[in-house]
Amino acid sequence: MRPILLSGHERALTQVKYNPDGDLIFSVSKDHVVCAWFSHNGERFGTYHGHQGALWTVDVDPTSTLLATGGADNTMRLWEVNTGELLSTWDFPTAVKRVEFSPDGRQLLCVTEKRSGHLGTVVVFDINPDPKAQQSKEHTLRIVCEDSKATVAGFSYLAEFIIVCHEDGSISQYDAKTGEKLFNTQAHEEDMLITDLQWAPDRTYFITACKDKTSKIVAADSLEVLKTFVTDTPLNSAAITPVKDYVILGGGQAAMDVTTTSARQGKFEARFYHKIFQEEIGRVRGHFGPLNYVAVHPDGTGYCSGGEDGYVRVHHFDKPYFDFMYEVERERAQELSNL
Protein backbone atom coordinates (compact mmCIF):
# COMPACT_ATOMS: atom_id res chain seq x y z
CA MET A 1 0.00 0.00 0.00
CA ARG A 2 1.63 3.24 -1.13
CA PRO A 3 -0.27 6.20 0.29
CA ILE A 4 -0.68 9.32 -1.82
CA LEU A 5 0.32 12.44 0.06
CA LEU A 6 -1.77 15.53 -0.62
CA SER A 7 -0.02 18.68 0.54
CA GLY A 8 -2.31 21.41 -0.70
CA HIS A 9 -3.08 22.83 2.71
CA GLU A 10 -0.95 25.05 4.85
CA ARG A 11 -2.59 24.31 8.17
CA ALA A 12 -4.17 21.44 10.04
CA LEU A 13 -6.86 19.50 8.22
CA THR A 14 -10.27 19.55 9.85
CA GLN A 15 -12.35 17.32 7.60
CA VAL A 16 -11.87 15.20 4.50
CA LYS A 17 -14.69 13.59 2.60
CA TYR A 18 -15.26 11.36 -0.41
CA ASN A 19 -18.13 12.16 -2.71
CA PRO A 20 -20.71 9.33 -3.09
CA ASP A 21 -19.29 8.42 -6.53
CA GLY A 22 -15.92 7.95 -4.87
CA ASP A 23 -13.86 9.78 -7.50
CA LEU A 24 -13.34 13.00 -5.56
CA ILE A 25 -12.00 13.87 -2.14
CA PHE A 26 -12.84 17.20 -0.56
CA SER A 27 -10.61 18.56 2.14
CA VAL A 28 -10.92 21.56 4.40
CA SER A 29 -8.33 22.93 6.78
CA LYS A 30 -7.68 25.84 9.04
CA ASP A 31 -6.27 27.79 6.10
CA HIS A 32 -9.27 29.25 4.34
CA VAL A 33 -9.31 27.10 1.24
CA VAL A 34 -11.36 24.09 0.21
CA CYS A 35 -9.61 21.60 -2.06
CA ALA A 36 -11.08 18.96 -4.37
CA TRP A 37 -8.87 16.05 -5.38
CA PHE A 38 -9.22 13.06 -7.65
CA SER A 39 -9.10 10.08 -5.37
CA HIS A 40 -7.40 7.64 -7.76
CA ASN A 41 -4.20 9.58 -8.36
CA GLY A 42 -4.26 12.52 -5.96
CA GLU A 43 -4.49 15.14 -8.69
CA ARG A 44 -5.99 18.39 -7.45
CA PHE A 45 -9.20 19.14 -9.31
CA GLY A 46 -9.57 22.65 -7.97
CA THR A 47 -9.86 24.97 -5.02
CA TYR A 48 -12.78 26.97 -3.71
CA HIS A 49 -12.02 30.49 -2.51
CA GLY A 50 -14.15 32.84 -0.47
CA HIS A 51 -14.08 31.86 3.18
CA GLN A 52 -12.54 34.37 5.56
CA GLY A 53 -11.70 32.06 8.47
CA ALA A 54 -10.65 28.57 9.42
CA LEU A 55 -12.84 25.91 7.91
CA TRP A 56 -14.36 23.25 10.10
CA THR A 57 -16.49 21.15 7.86
CA VAL A 58 -17.40 20.11 4.33
CA ASP A 59 -20.05 17.93 2.74
CA VAL A 60 -21.08 17.10 -0.80
CA ASP A 61 -24.57 16.31 -2.07
CA PRO A 62 -25.43 12.82 -3.44
CA THR A 63 -25.03 13.82 -7.09
CA SER A 64 -21.74 15.66 -6.50
CA THR A 65 -23.00 18.94 -7.91
CA LEU A 66 -23.19 21.00 -4.72
CA LEU A 67 -20.64 21.39 -1.99
CA ALA A 68 -21.38 22.84 1.42
CA THR A 69 -18.74 24.18 3.76
CA GLY A 70 -18.79 25.84 7.15
CA GLY A 71 -16.15 27.67 9.08
CA ALA A 72 -15.05 30.06 11.77
CA ASP A 73 -16.05 33.11 9.70
CA ASN A 74 -19.60 32.35 10.89
CA THR A 75 -20.80 31.41 7.44
CA MET A 76 -21.99 28.34 5.66
CA ARG A 77 -21.35 28.43 1.93
CA LEU A 78 -22.64 26.48 -1.01
CA TRP A 79 -20.39 25.88 -4.03
CA GLU A 80 -20.74 24.31 -7.42
CA VAL A 81 -18.46 21.30 -7.38
CA ASN A 82 -17.38 21.36 -11.03
CA THR A 83 -16.53 25.05 -11.38
CA GLY A 84 -15.59 26.25 -7.91
CA GLU A 85 -18.22 28.99 -8.11
CA LEU A 86 -19.73 30.30 -4.89
CA LEU A 87 -23.50 29.89 -5.10
CA SER A 88 -24.84 30.96 -1.76
CA THR A 89 -23.80 32.15 1.69
CA TRP A 90 -25.66 31.88 4.97
CA ASP A 91 -24.57 34.00 7.92
CA PHE A 92 -24.72 32.92 11.54
CA PRO A 93 -23.89 34.58 14.83
CA THR A 94 -21.27 31.90 15.63
CA ALA A 95 -18.95 29.47 13.85
CA VAL A 96 -20.31 26.58 11.82
CA LYS A 97 -18.91 23.32 13.13
CA ARG A 98 -20.60 20.74 10.97
CA VAL A 99 -22.64 20.60 7.77
CA GLU A 100 -24.37 17.58 6.31
CA PHE A 101 -26.72 16.93 3.40
CA SER A 102 -29.75 14.70 3.86
CA PRO A 103 -29.68 11.36 1.99
CA ASP A 104 -31.71 12.85 -0.89
CA GLY A 105 -29.66 16.05 -1.03
CA ARG A 106 -32.67 18.32 -0.60
CA GLN A 107 -31.94 19.36 2.96
CA LEU A 108 -28.82 20.73 4.52
CA LEU A 109 -28.09 20.71 8.20
CA CYS A 110 -25.60 22.82 10.03
CA VAL A 111 -24.37 22.82 13.60
CA THR A 112 -23.38 26.17 15.07
CA GLU A 113 -21.04 26.79 17.96
CA LYS A 114 -22.10 28.02 21.40
CA ARG A 115 -20.36 31.31 22.05
CA SER A 116 -20.77 34.90 23.25
CA GLY A 117 -24.28 34.60 24.55
CA HIS A 118 -25.51 32.37 21.75
CA LEU A 119 -26.59 28.81 22.42
CA GLY A 120 -25.48 25.99 20.18
CA THR A 121 -28.02 25.23 17.46
CA VAL A 122 -28.75 22.78 14.69
CA VAL A 123 -30.31 24.52 11.71
CA VAL A 124 -31.87 22.87 8.65
CA PHE A 125 -32.31 24.48 5.23
CA ASP A 126 -34.11 23.31 2.14
CA ILE A 127 -31.80 23.01 -0.81
CA ASN A 128 -32.67 23.23 -4.48
CA PRO A 129 -30.38 20.71 -6.18
CA ASP A 130 -30.11 22.85 -9.31
CA PRO A 131 -26.89 24.90 -9.11
CA LYS A 132 -28.48 27.81 -11.03
CA ALA A 133 -31.43 28.17 -8.65
CA GLN A 134 -31.63 30.76 -5.90
CA GLN A 135 -31.30 29.09 -2.49
CA SER A 136 -33.70 30.00 0.28
CA LYS A 137 -32.11 31.91 3.14
CA GLU A 138 -34.79 30.95 5.61
CA HIS A 139 -34.28 27.87 7.72
CA THR A 140 -37.00 25.23 7.87
CA LEU A 141 -36.05 23.96 11.29
CA ARG A 142 -34.00 25.26 14.16
CA ILE A 143 -33.11 23.14 17.15
CA VAL A 144 -31.60 24.95 20.12
CA CYS A 145 -29.43 22.82 22.38
CA GLU A 146 -29.97 24.29 25.82
CA ASP A 147 -28.35 21.65 28.01
CA SER A 148 -25.13 20.94 26.23
CA LYS A 149 -23.90 22.28 22.92
CA ALA A 150 -24.07 20.12 19.84
CA THR A 151 -20.74 19.11 18.33
CA VAL A 152 -21.77 16.95 15.39
CA ALA A 153 -25.08 15.97 13.82
CA GLY A 154 -26.50 14.05 10.90
CA PHE A 155 -29.61 12.82 9.13
CA SER A 156 -30.68 9.22 9.69
CA TYR A 157 -32.16 6.94 7.00
CA LEU A 158 -34.85 8.69 4.87
CA ALA A 159 -34.08 11.87 6.82
CA GLU A 160 -36.44 10.64 9.50
CA PHE A 161 -34.38 11.66 12.50
CA ILE A 162 -31.66 14.12 13.17
CA ILE A 163 -29.04 12.62 15.44
CA VAL A 164 -27.13 15.16 17.48
CA CYS A 165 -24.03 14.39 19.52
CA HIS A 166 -23.17 16.67 22.39
CA GLU A 167 -20.21 18.06 24.23
CA ASP A 168 -21.22 16.15 27.39
CA GLY A 169 -20.97 12.72 25.75
CA SER A 170 -24.69 12.27 25.20
CA ILE A 171 -26.54 11.61 21.97
CA SER A 172 -30.01 12.91 21.20
CA GLN A 173 -32.48 12.02 18.56
CA TYR A 174 -34.81 14.67 17.09
CA ASP A 175 -37.70 14.29 14.71
CA ALA A 176 -36.42 15.75 11.45
CA LYS A 177 -39.85 17.15 10.53
CA THR A 178 -40.97 18.79 13.77
CA GLY A 179 -37.68 19.24 15.59
CA GLU A 180 -39.12 17.57 18.66
CA LYS A 181 -36.63 15.84 20.93
CA LEU A 182 -37.46 12.14 21.07
CA PHE A 183 -34.59 10.61 22.98
CA ASN A 184 -31.44 11.45 24.81
CA THR A 185 -28.95 8.92 26.03
CA GLN A 186 -25.62 9.20 27.76
CA ALA A 187 -23.77 6.95 25.35
CA HIS A 188 -20.25 8.06 26.22
CA GLU A 189 -18.62 9.01 29.48
CA GLU A 190 -19.95 12.12 31.06
CA ASP A 191 -18.43 15.43 29.97
CA MET A 192 -16.45 13.84 27.20
CA LEU A 193 -16.78 15.61 23.89
CA ILE A 194 -18.09 13.53 21.01
CA THR A 195 -15.90 14.49 18.08
CA ASP A 196 -17.36 12.66 15.13
CA LEU A 197 -20.42 10.91 13.80
CA GLN A 198 -20.32 8.92 10.57
CA TRP A 199 -23.03 6.80 9.04
CA ALA A 200 -23.17 3.25 7.84
CA PRO A 201 -24.02 3.12 4.11
CA ASP A 202 -27.75 2.55 4.79
CA ARG A 203 -27.86 5.11 7.64
CA THR A 204 -29.59 2.74 10.05
CA TYR A 205 -26.67 2.97 12.43
CA PHE A 206 -23.74 5.27 12.97
CA ILE A 207 -20.36 5.36 14.61
CA THR A 208 -19.21 7.99 17.06
CA ALA A 209 -15.74 8.98 18.15
CA CYS A 210 -15.23 10.48 21.56
CA LYS A 211 -12.55 12.06 23.71
CA ASP A 212 -13.22 9.33 26.28
CA LYS A 213 -11.00 7.10 24.06
CA THR A 214 -13.85 4.96 22.85
CA SER A 215 -15.85 4.75 19.71
CA LYS A 216 -19.36 3.32 19.60
CA ILE A 217 -21.74 2.01 17.01
CA VAL A 218 -25.24 3.16 17.82
CA ALA A 219 -28.58 2.27 16.23
CA ALA A 220 -30.27 5.29 14.67
CA ASP A 221 -33.85 4.53 15.74
CA SER A 222 -33.37 3.25 19.31
CA LEU A 223 -30.04 4.92 20.14
CA GLU A 224 -28.97 1.58 21.53
CA VAL A 225 -25.21 1.10 21.72
CA LEU A 226 -24.45 -1.91 19.54
CA LYS A 227 -20.65 -2.04 19.64
CA THR A 228 -17.90 -0.36 21.60
CA PHE A 229 -14.31 -0.01 20.46
CA VAL A 230 -11.87 0.82 23.23
CA THR A 231 -8.55 2.51 22.45
CA ASP A 232 -5.79 4.18 24.43
CA THR A 233 -6.00 7.64 22.97
CA PRO A 234 -8.60 10.39 22.58
CA LEU A 235 -10.39 9.88 19.28
CA ASN A 236 -11.15 12.51 16.69
CA SER A 237 -12.84 10.47 14.03
CA ALA A 238 -14.32 7.08 13.25
CA ALA A 239 -15.54 5.54 10.01
CA ILE A 240 -17.29 2.34 9.01
CA THR A 241 -15.88 0.49 6.03
CA PRO A 242 -18.20 -1.03 3.45
CA VAL A 243 -17.37 -4.46 1.92
CA LYS A 244 -15.30 -5.61 4.88
CA ASP A 245 -16.66 -5.42 8.42
CA TYR A 246 -14.08 -3.06 9.84
CA VAL A 247 -14.06 0.34 11.41
CA ILE A 248 -11.24 2.87 11.17
CA LEU A 249 -10.52 5.10 14.14
CA GLY A 250 -8.32 8.15 14.10
CA GLY A 251 -7.07 10.25 16.94
CA GLY A 252 -4.00 10.99 18.95
CA GLN A 253 -2.73 13.26 21.63
CA ALA A 254 -4.40 16.64 21.64
CA ALA A 255 -2.74 19.15 19.36
CA MET A 256 -1.40 21.25 22.23
CA ASP A 257 0.46 18.29 23.77
CA VAL A 258 1.99 17.13 20.54
CA THR A 259 5.33 18.88 20.81
CA THR A 260 6.05 17.12 24.08
CA THR A 261 5.53 13.63 22.71
CA SER A 262 7.35 11.63 20.06
CA ALA A 263 5.60 10.46 16.93
CA ARG A 264 5.37 6.96 18.31
CA GLN A 265 4.02 7.90 21.74
CA GLY A 266 1.61 10.32 20.14
CA LYS A 267 -0.36 7.42 18.74
CA PHE A 268 -0.87 9.15 15.43
CA GLU A 269 -2.06 6.07 13.68
CA ALA A 270 -5.22 4.99 11.98
CA ARG A 271 -6.54 2.06 13.95
CA PHE A 272 -8.46 -0.71 12.32
CA TYR A 273 -10.93 -2.65 14.42
CA HIS A 274 -13.15 -5.50 13.43
CA LYS A 275 -16.69 -4.16 13.47
CA ILE A 276 -18.28 -7.34 14.82
CA PHE A 277 -15.63 -8.68 17.18
CA GLN A 278 -14.60 -5.23 18.45
CA GLU A 279 -10.99 -6.27 18.37
CA GLU A 280 -8.08 -4.31 16.98
CA ILE A 281 -6.66 -5.88 13.83
CA GLY A 282 -3.99 -3.43 12.79
CA ARG A 283 -2.72 0.11 12.48
CA VAL A 284 -1.50 2.35 9.72
CA ARG A 285 0.99 5.01 10.65
CA GLY A 286 2.30 7.89 8.64
CA HIS A 287 0.99 11.16 10.06
CA PHE A 288 3.17 13.41 12.20
CA GLY A 289 0.23 14.72 14.17
CA PRO A 290 -3.11 13.51 15.39
CA LEU A 291 -5.57 12.38 12.81
CA ASN A 292 -8.39 14.86 12.67
CA TYR A 293 -10.59 12.97 10.27
CA VAL A 294 -10.77 9.63 8.52
CA ALA A 295 -13.04 8.96 5.57
CA VAL A 296 -13.66 5.73 3.72
CA HIS A 297 -14.15 5.34 -0.02
CA PRO A 298 -17.85 4.53 -0.65
CA ASP A 299 -16.83 1.35 -2.48
CA GLY A 300 -14.60 0.29 0.41
CA THR A 301 -11.48 0.27 -1.76
CA GLY A 302 -9.52 2.77 0.24
CA TYR A 303 -9.54 5.47 2.86
CA CYS A 304 -8.02 8.85 3.44
CA SER A 305 -7.03 10.64 6.60
CA GLY A 306 -6.47 14.29 7.31
CA GLY A 307 -4.02 15.14 10.04
CA GLU A 308 -3.01 17.99 12.25
CA ASP A 309 0.25 17.91 10.27
CA GLY A 310 -1.52 19.47 7.28
CA TYR A 311 -1.37 16.42 5.05
CA VAL A 312 -4.08 14.26 3.59
CA ARG A 313 -2.97 10.69 3.06
CA VAL A 314 -4.94 8.65 0.56
CA HIS A 315 -4.63 4.89 0.89
CA HIS A 316 -5.80 2.26 -1.54
CA PHE A 317 -6.20 -1.06 0.22
CA ASP A 318 -4.36 -4.05 -1.16
CA LYS A 319 -4.98 -7.75 -1.06
CA PRO A 320 -4.27 -8.68 2.58
CA TYR A 321 -6.92 -6.18 3.66
CA PHE A 322 -9.60 -7.94 1.65
CA ASP A 323 -8.33 -11.44 2.38
CA PHE A 324 -8.28 -11.15 6.14
CA MET A 325 -10.97 -13.18 7.85
CA TYR A 326 -11.52 -14.51 11.30
CA GLU A 327 -11.68 -18.27 11.67
CA VAL A 328 -15.46 -18.20 12.03
CA GLU A 329 -15.82 -15.98 9.00
CA ARG A 330 -13.69 -18.34 6.98
CA GLU A 331 -15.74 -21.32 8.07
CA ARG A 332 -18.91 -19.50 7.18
CA ALA A 333 -17.57 -18.60 3.76
CA GLN A 334 -16.60 -22.23 3.29
CA GLU A 335 -20.09 -23.39 4.20
CA LEU A 336 -21.69 -20.95 1.83
CA SER A 337 -19.46 -21.99 -1.02
CA ASN A 338 -20.31 -25.63 -0.40
CA LEU A 339 -24.02 -25.04 -0.69
Binding site: N41, R44, F45, F272, F277, I281
Partner: protein, 281 residues
Protein backbone atom coordinates in the same frame (compact mmCIF):
# COMPACT_ATOMS: atom_id res chain seq x y z
CA UNK B 1 10.86 15.23 -41.35
CA UNK B 2 11.44 18.48 -43.19
CA UNK B 3 14.52 17.01 -44.73
CA UNK B 4 12.55 14.07 -46.01
CA UNK B 5 9.80 16.27 -47.35
CA UNK B 6 12.17 18.63 -49.07
CA UNK B 7 14.19 15.92 -50.74
CA UNK B 8 13.94 16.05 -54.51
CA UNK B 9 16.22 13.50 -55.98
CA UNK B 10 18.14 10.39 -55.05
CA UNK B 11 21.56 11.97 -55.50
CA UNK B 12 21.03 14.18 -52.49
CA UNK B 13 20.00 11.22 -50.50
CA UNK B 14 23.35 9.70 -51.22
CA UNK B 15 25.07 12.78 -49.82
CA UNK B 16 23.12 12.79 -46.64
CA UNK B 17 23.53 9.10 -46.18
CA UNK B 18 25.00 9.33 -42.71
CA UNK B 19 22.14 11.55 -41.59
CA UNK B 20 19.34 9.78 -43.37
CA UNK B 21 17.51 7.42 -41.06
CA UNK B 22 15.48 4.44 -42.16
CA UNK B 23 11.76 4.70 -41.71
CA UNK B 24 10.08 3.33 -38.63
CA UNK B 25 8.95 -0.21 -39.28
CA UNK B 26 6.05 -1.90 -37.60
CA UNK B 27 5.71 -5.65 -37.95
CA UNK B 28 2.80 -7.62 -36.61
CA UNK B 29 3.83 -10.83 -34.92
CA UNK B 30 1.86 -14.02 -34.90
CA UNK B 31 1.18 -13.93 -31.17
CA UNK B 32 -0.68 -10.66 -31.48
CA UNK B 33 2.21 -8.42 -30.45
CA UNK B 34 3.78 -5.69 -32.54
CA UNK B 35 7.45 -5.00 -33.04
CA UNK B 36 8.30 -1.37 -33.63
CA UNK B 37 11.77 -0.51 -34.83
CA UNK B 38 12.73 3.15 -34.79
CA UNK B 39 15.98 4.89 -35.55
CA UNK B 40 17.31 8.06 -34.08
CA UNK B 41 20.56 9.96 -33.76
CA UNK B 42 22.08 10.48 -30.39
CA UNK B 43 23.65 13.76 -29.34
CA UNK B 44 27.12 12.48 -30.09
CA UNK B 45 26.06 11.69 -33.67
CA UNK B 46 25.74 7.94 -33.30
CA UNK B 47 22.77 6.22 -34.79
CA UNK B 48 20.49 4.38 -32.43
CA UNK B 49 18.18 1.58 -33.35
CA UNK B 50 15.36 1.08 -30.88
CA UNK B 51 13.32 -2.09 -30.99
CA UNK B 52 10.15 -2.18 -28.96
CA UNK B 53 7.81 -5.07 -28.71
CA UNK B 54 4.38 -4.17 -27.46
CA UNK B 55 1.14 -5.92 -26.90
CA UNK B 56 -2.06 -3.98 -27.04
CA UNK B 57 -4.89 -5.06 -24.79
CA UNK B 58 -8.22 -3.40 -24.52
CA UNK B 59 -9.52 -3.14 -21.00
CA UNK B 60 -13.15 -2.14 -20.79
CA UNK B 61 -14.49 -0.64 -17.60
CA UNK B 62 -17.90 0.79 -16.96
CA UNK B 63 -17.57 4.26 -15.52
CA UNK B 64 -20.16 6.45 -13.94
CA UNK B 65 -20.90 9.16 -16.54
CA UNK B 66 -20.62 11.87 -13.89
CA UNK B 67 -17.16 10.60 -13.01
CA UNK B 68 -16.13 10.43 -16.64
CA UNK B 69 -17.38 13.96 -17.23
CA UNK B 70 -15.41 15.35 -14.32
CA UNK B 71 -12.19 13.86 -15.61
CA UNK B 72 -12.34 16.04 -18.70
CA UNK B 73 -13.49 19.21 -16.99
CA UNK B 74 -11.08 22.14 -16.77
CA UNK B 75 -9.46 22.73 -13.41
CA UNK B 76 -10.32 25.79 -11.38
CA UNK B 77 -9.14 27.86 -8.45
CA UNK B 78 -5.41 27.57 -7.77
CA UNK B 79 -5.19 24.73 -10.25
CA UNK B 80 -6.58 26.80 -13.10
CA UNK B 81 -4.75 26.31 -16.36
CA UNK B 82 -2.48 23.59 -15.04
CA UNK B 83 -1.93 20.56 -17.24
CA UNK B 84 -3.76 17.33 -16.46
CA UNK B 85 -2.13 14.85 -14.11
CA UNK B 86 -0.99 15.25 -10.53
CA UNK B 87 1.18 18.29 -9.82
CA UNK B 88 4.39 17.62 -7.96
CA UNK B 89 3.91 20.51 -5.55
CA UNK B 90 0.68 19.19 -4.11
CA UNK B 91 0.75 15.47 -4.72
CA UNK B 92 3.45 12.97 -3.92
CA UNK B 93 3.68 9.32 -3.17
CA UNK B 94 4.72 8.29 0.30
CA UNK B 95 6.80 5.29 1.18
CA UNK B 96 5.22 1.91 1.08
CA UNK B 97 3.26 0.81 4.14
CA UNK B 98 2.63 -2.80 4.87
CA UNK B 99 -0.84 -3.22 6.25
CA UNK B 100 -1.80 -6.74 7.08
CA UNK B 101 -4.73 -7.22 9.44
CA UNK B 102 -4.23 -9.87 12.11
CA UNK B 103 -6.57 -11.08 14.78
CA UNK B 104 -5.44 -10.29 18.30
CA UNK B 105 -3.32 -7.35 17.22
CA UNK B 106 -1.41 -5.82 20.14
CA UNK B 107 0.02 -2.36 20.36
CA UNK B 108 3.10 -3.71 22.09
CA UNK B 109 3.95 -5.73 19.00
CA UNK B 110 5.40 -2.73 17.28
CA UNK B 111 6.90 -0.93 20.21
CA UNK B 112 9.36 -3.56 21.30
CA UNK B 113 12.78 -4.13 19.95
CA UNK B 114 14.16 -6.68 17.56
CA UNK B 115 13.02 -9.61 19.60
CA UNK B 116 9.44 -8.54 19.31
CA UNK B 117 9.81 -7.74 15.64
CA UNK B 118 11.11 -11.21 15.05
CA UNK B 119 8.26 -12.63 17.00
CA UNK B 120 5.88 -10.51 15.01
CA UNK B 121 7.32 -11.77 11.76
CA UNK B 122 6.96 -15.30 12.98
CA UNK B 123 3.43 -14.60 14.05
CA UNK B 124 2.50 -13.41 10.62
CA UNK B 125 3.92 -16.60 9.24
CA UNK B 126 1.31 -18.45 11.28
CA UNK B 127 2.31 -20.27 14.40
CA UNK B 128 2.17 -23.97 14.12
CA UNK B 129 3.40 -26.33 16.78
CA UNK B 130 5.70 -28.92 15.34
CA UNK B 131 4.56 -31.47 17.87
CA UNK B 132 0.82 -31.36 17.76
CA UNK B 133 0.13 -28.89 14.94
CA UNK B 134 -1.75 -26.63 17.32
CA UNK B 135 -1.52 -22.87 17.04
CA UNK B 136 1.07 -22.25 19.72
CA UNK B 137 4.84 -22.30 19.87
CA UNK B 138 6.46 -25.68 19.96
CA UNK B 139 8.09 -24.73 23.25
CA UNK B 140 4.69 -24.06 24.76
CA UNK B 141 3.22 -27.33 23.61
CA UNK B 142 1.81 -29.34 26.51
CA UNK B 143 3.33 -32.44 24.94
CA UNK B 144 6.79 -31.04 24.38
CA UNK B 145 8.41 -33.18 27.03
CA UNK B 146 6.83 -36.36 25.95
CA UNK B 147 6.81 -36.25 22.22
CA UNK B 148 9.04 -35.59 19.29
CA UNK B 149 8.02 -33.05 16.71
CA UNK B 150 6.37 -34.26 13.58
CA UNK B 151 8.02 -33.62 10.26
CA UNK B 152 11.46 -32.12 10.03
CA UNK B 153 12.60 -30.78 13.36
CA UNK B 154 15.34 -28.33 12.56
CA UNK B 155 17.23 -27.57 15.75
CA UNK B 156 18.15 -24.02 14.69
CA UNK B 157 14.50 -23.25 14.30
CA UNK B 158 13.81 -24.52 17.72
CA UNK B 159 16.28 -22.09 19.23
CA UNK B 160 14.64 -19.26 17.36
CA UNK B 161 11.36 -20.02 18.99
CA UNK B 162 13.02 -20.12 22.34
CA UNK B 163 14.42 -16.63 22.00
CA UNK B 164 11.20 -15.12 20.82
CA UNK B 165 9.41 -16.81 23.64
CA UNK B 166 11.69 -15.40 26.26
CA UNK B 167 11.28 -11.95 24.79
CA UNK B 168 7.57 -12.28 25.18
CA UNK B 169 7.86 -13.10 28.83
CA UNK B 170 10.06 -10.10 29.39
CA UNK B 171 12.97 -12.33 30.31
CA UNK B 172 15.23 -10.51 27.91
CA UNK B 173 16.83 -13.61 26.35
CA UNK B 174 18.95 -14.72 29.29
CA UNK B 175 21.59 -17.31 28.53
CA UNK B 176 21.69 -18.72 32.04
CA UNK B 177 21.82 -22.48 32.22
CA UNK B 178 20.95 -24.19 35.48
CA UNK B 179 23.90 -26.09 36.96
CA UNK B 180 22.33 -29.49 36.58
CA UNK B 181 21.88 -28.90 32.88
CA UNK B 182 25.32 -27.53 32.14
CA UNK B 183 27.41 -29.55 29.77
CA UNK B 184 24.45 -31.06 28.06
CA UNK B 185 23.88 -30.41 24.46
CA UNK B 186 20.75 -28.49 23.56
CA UNK B 187 20.10 -27.45 27.12
CA UNK B 188 16.94 -25.89 28.32
CA UNK B 189 14.15 -27.18 26.23
CA UNK B 190 14.21 -30.73 27.47
CA UNK B 191 14.18 -29.78 31.10
CA UNK B 192 11.85 -31.93 33.12
CA UNK B 193 11.54 -34.59 30.45
CA UNK B 194 9.73 -37.48 32.07
CA UNK B 195 11.00 -40.21 29.84
CA UNK B 196 14.47 -41.15 28.90
CA UNK B 197 13.76 -42.84 25.67
CA UNK B 198 15.65 -44.21 22.78
CA UNK B 199 14.51 -42.21 19.83
CA UNK B 200 15.97 -44.70 17.47
CA UNK B 201 13.34 -47.23 18.40
CA UNK B 202 10.36 -44.89 18.58
CA UNK B 203 7.65 -44.86 16.00
CA UNK B 204 5.34 -42.02 15.28
CA UNK B 205 1.85 -43.16 14.46
CA UNK B 206 -0.46 -40.66 12.81
CA UNK B 207 -4.00 -40.70 11.52
CA UNK B 208 -5.18 -42.50 14.62
CA UNK B 209 -8.93 -42.57 15.14
CA UNK B 210 -10.11 -40.25 17.89
CA UNK B 211 -11.80 -43.16 19.65
CA UNK B 212 -8.60 -45.16 19.89
CA UNK B 213 -7.20 -46.03 23.32
CA UNK B 214 -3.64 -46.51 24.37
CA UNK B 215 -4.32 -50.13 25.15
CA UNK B 216 -5.54 -50.75 21.56
CA UNK B 217 -2.29 -49.46 20.23
CA UNK B 218 -0.24 -51.39 22.77
CA UNK B 219 -1.98 -54.62 21.76
CA UNK B 220 -1.47 -53.92 18.11
CA UNK B 221 2.17 -52.99 18.32
CA UNK B 222 3.33 -55.50 20.89
CA UNK B 223 2.93 -58.19 18.23
CA UNK B 224 6.26 -57.11 16.80
CA UNK B 225 8.33 -56.99 19.93
CA UNK B 226 8.58 -55.60 23.43
CA UNK B 227 6.91 -52.22 23.60
CA UNK B 228 8.43 -50.02 26.29
CA UNK B 229 6.09 -47.07 25.98
CA UNK B 230 2.94 -46.03 24.21
CA UNK B 231 1.89 -42.42 24.20
CA UNK B 232 -1.39 -41.36 22.69
CA UNK B 233 -1.99 -37.60 22.52
CA UNK B 234 -5.35 -36.72 23.92
CA UNK B 235 -7.29 -33.51 23.96
CA UNK B 236 -7.36 -32.18 27.49
CA UNK B 237 -10.95 -31.10 27.44
CA UNK B 238 -12.71 -33.82 25.53
CA UNK B 239 -10.37 -36.65 26.49
CA UNK B 240 -10.41 -37.94 22.95
CA UNK B 241 -7.35 -38.84 20.98
CA UNK B 242 -5.80 -36.08 18.93
CA UNK B 243 -4.88 -38.35 16.07
CA UNK B 244 -1.29 -39.28 16.71
CA UNK B 245 0.73 -41.44 19.04
CA UNK B 246 4.25 -42.57 19.79
CA UNK B 247 5.27 -46.16 20.33
CA UNK B 248 8.71 -47.06 21.64
CA UNK B 249 10.30 -50.45 21.35
CA UNK B 250 13.12 -51.93 23.32
CA UNK B 251 14.78 -53.02 20.13
CA UNK B 252 15.20 -51.03 16.98
CA UNK B 253 14.79 -54.00 14.68
CA UNK B 254 11.38 -54.67 16.17
CA UNK B 255 10.50 -51.08 15.56
CA UNK B 256 11.61 -51.32 11.94
CA UNK B 257 9.52 -54.43 11.48
CA UNK B 258 6.48 -52.79 13.05
CA UNK B 259 6.98 -49.69 10.99
CA UNK B 260 6.99 -51.72 7.84
CA UNK B 261 3.97 -53.85 8.73
CA UNK B 262 1.76 -51.33 10.43
CA UNK B 263 2.12 -48.49 7.94
CA UNK B 264 -1.18 -48.56 6.11
CA UNK B 265 -2.93 -50.79 8.67
CA UNK B 266 -6.61 -49.94 9.14
CA UNK B 267 -7.55 -49.15 12.72
CA UNK B 268 -11.23 -48.38 13.24
CA UNK B 269 -12.18 -46.37 10.20
CA UNK B 270 -8.80 -44.85 9.50
CA UNK B 271 -5.60 -46.03 7.90
CA UNK B 272 -2.59 -45.64 10.15
CA UNK B 273 0.58 -44.02 9.07
CA UNK B 274 3.66 -45.23 10.84
CA UNK B 275 7.14 -43.80 10.59
CA UNK B 276 10.20 -43.38 12.73
CA UNK B 277 9.98 -40.43 15.03
CA UNK B 278 12.46 -37.67 14.34
CA UNK B 279 14.92 -36.76 17.00
CA UNK B 280 13.95 -33.80 19.13
CA UNK B 281 17.23 -32.13 19.76
Amino acid sequence: MSRVAGRTDWAEEEDEDNLQLPQQTITKNKDGTETIVTYSIREDGKKIKTTRRIKKTTVKTIVNPRVAERKSLPKFGQEKGKPPGPQTDTTSVAENIVFRPVSGWKASNEDKGDDAKKKNALKDAKIKCRICSGDHWTTKCPFKDTMAPEGEGVPADMKDDGVAEQGALGGGGSSYVPPHLRGRSGAGEKMGGKYERDDLATLRVTNVSEFAEEQDLRDLFSRFGHVTRVFLAKDRETGRAKGFAFVSYADRSDAAKACEKMDGYGLHHLILRVEFAKKTN
